[in-house]
């Protein structure tokens, strides 16, 4: 039995269906990337999985069906990281991270010393140590994204649902964040589903790739096992003609490099 299973998921806005008949499964300790062109339904998929959007179909996490769970139960199991947080309040960074513990606390209960220690540890993990007392609104967009990531990490959910968590980060920080995430998943046995715009990141960090197109799951890839030819063919369905090569950096680490074949628009 898989760690997380999605069966025949359909969702949309009002009567307009955005994704239809999506089924897949994730294993514990792994990171799965969702790739697709704009409007292919990636964000809708994440929102449906965490119950923000009403949907048909079933999601089962470690044997527990997610549909019908209260927001508190759902928040304990799943950590959702939106593209941008809607927070527009002056609040200290540490306080924002402590919000992540809300599903585990009573209605009137306040975070204690244990939660504060975990929040500080998570902030250090994402490289925001020393900024605990700064106002969230004074952070750069990239730092805000890291703060929201720390909020999810501190709460240790069983399933991470991340919507472009690296979009405001510089290239070096993107790699660090995905390395951190895969390390956390490996250690805790939790699973992660991450929507990424950059296929290079997905190819080099994810254990599995889900390819979305026009609201449907076009297929899945295993970047560590599948041949470059097979991956080229699948990725070409999303991005147009691409070339995939393996290349080593100066430290000897192997990377999958994706090259877009530029063609003049007819």
């Amino acid at each position: 039995m898989s760690f997380f299973t999605v069966e025949n998921l359909s969702a949309g806005y009002g009567s307009r269906k955005i994704i239809e008949g999506v089924s897949f499964s994730l294993e514990g300790g792994t990171l799965t990337g969702v790739l697709g062109a704009n409007g292919s339904g990636k964000t809708t998929l994440l929102k449906a999985l965490c119950g923000i959007l009403p949907h048909q179909g079933h999601c089962t996490l470690e044997g527990q069906q997610l549909e019908g769970l209260s927001p508190r139960q759902l928040g304990t199991l799943c950590g959702y990281i939106p593209q941008r947080s809607g927070l527009s309040l002056h609040l200290p960074v540490e306080e924002v991270v402590l919000m992540g513990f809300n599903p585990r606390l009573g209605l009137l209960q306040r975070p204690g010393a244990r939660e504060k220690a975990l929040a500080r540890k998570a902030l250090a993990q994402v490289g925001l140590e020393g900024l605990e007392g700064e106002s969230y609104l004074t952070l750069s967009e990239g730092q805000k994204q890291l703060c929201i990531l720390a909020r999810a990490l501190a709460a240790s959910p069983r399933l991470f649902l991340l919507d472009e968590p690296e979009s405001a980060l510089d290239p070096a920080r993107r790699w660090q964040v995905l390395e951190l995430l895969t390390g956390v998943l490996n250690r805790t046995g939790a699973a992660g589903l991450v929507v990424l715009h950059d296929p290079a990141l997905a190819l080099n960090f994810c254990h599995q790739l889900l390819l979305m197109g026009e609201g449907k799951l076009l297929g899945s890839l295993d970047p560590r096992r599948d041949s470059p030819q097979k991956m080229e063919e699948a990725l070409s369905r999303i991005y147009g003609p691409v070339t995939l090569t393996r290349s080593r950096d100066k430290t000897g680490r192997e990377h999958l490099v994706l090259l877009n074949e530029w063609r003049e628009t007819p």
Partner: protein
């Protein structure tokens, strides 16, 4: 500007204590501490029947308006939000007008105004429930509709009022005043207001979650619809209990939260309490001016508006637009 929380709390408490003391002793009939302590009959009577209840209402009512203003701005993610955004003030005015026309006695008017405020908010929230998505914007639109309805009722009641007595009473009530409040008429409010403020302070961590996008708040374990309903009703109880005694008081609920945030630069529970203390200072100070400056007593809102309108303009043009 000093931002040490302890210093700010001590400064606000001292200012409130000084204003409250001034409010107890300053007025048309000046009181002295020695006169009261020596049991001089007239002084003791004025102290207990006029000054004490009036000062208590200024402090407690102002605190409540400061706290609830802070909560409304946070929940609606709008720096200009006030309790009237969901029809509290217009409902209270219509209720008070009904009380003045058809009931007798100050207590009945207070009760009618409280009922009007609460009724308007319940109607607003019930209308908003017709939209299953339960968005903030639906509540705001319902609030506008209820406000318009309450204004129509108020207008109709004014048309039927006796222009010599009843109409003047309605207008005077709408202008707001702490005059004529007795300890006995404050009884229920002295129970409701602390309960509302205590509840809002205890729930403040949840109120902050409502300042996020709804989906984000939900994924942080907040049952957004139920939570917002509970917090708004709790805040409304406090505001309704206050303005049913004072009449409409402008700007306190807008000014105090912004002033508190400007001082602390955050939105934690300490800032919520500071907003309450500043609300108490503003209302007590405005009442002090209202009964000291003119030959007759002036409306409190005249002074809160004199302070509030320039502050609002400064807020719009200078910054501080974040909640």
């Amino acid at each position: 500007m000093p931002r040490h929380k302890g210093f700010l709390a001590a400064a606000a408490l001292t200012a409130l204590a000084v204003l409250a003391a001034a409010s107890l002793f300053v007025g048309k009939y000046p009181l002295t501490l020695s006169g009261i302590l020596s049991g001089e009959e007239m002084q003791v009577r004025v102290f207990w029947t006029l000054r004490f209840s009036r000062t208590l209402l200024g402090v407690v009512g102002g605190f409540c308006l400061g706290v609830t203003g802070f909560v409304f701005q946070t929940v609606f993610r709008n720096p200009l939000a006030s309790p009237d955004i969901i029809g509290v003030a217009s409902g209270a005015s219509a209720g008070a007008a009904f009380g003045i026309l058809f009931l007798s006695g100050a207590a009945a008017v207070t009760l009618a105004s409280f009922g009007g405020a609460l009724g308007a908010v319940v109607l607003c929230l019930a209308l908003a429930r017709l939209d299953p998505s339960g968005k903030n914007s639906t509540i705001l639109l319902s609030g506008i509709a209820v406000h318009a309805l309450a204004q129509t009722v108020l207008m109709a009641l004014k048309l039927t009022a006796d222009p010599e007595k009843q109409l003047a009473s309605i207008e005077y009530w709408i202008m707001g005043s702490l005059n004529g409040v007795s300890l006995s008429s404050m009884g229920p409010a002295l129970f409701i207001i602390p309960l509302s403020c205590l509840g809002l302070c205890l729930l403040h961590r949840q109120t902050l979650l409502l300042a996020l996008e709804e989906s984000e708040a939900r994924m942080l374990g907040a049952a957004v619809g139920r939570l917002r309903l509970g917090i708004l009703l709790l805040a409304t109880l406090g505001v309704a209990a206050t303005i049913s005694l004072t009449g409409l008081i402008s700007f306190v609920g807008l000014l105090a939260p912004h002033a508190a945030r400007l001082l602390t630069r955050d939105n934690r529970t300490g800032t919520l309490l500071l907003s309450g203390l500043l609300g108490g200072c503003i209302l007590t100070g405005a009442d002090l001016l209202a009964r000291s400056l003119g030959p007759t007593e002036l409306p409190v809102s005249l002074f809160t508006s004199l302070l509030g309108a320039p502050f609002l303009l400064w807020l719009v043009f200078k910054g501080g637009r974040e909640v």
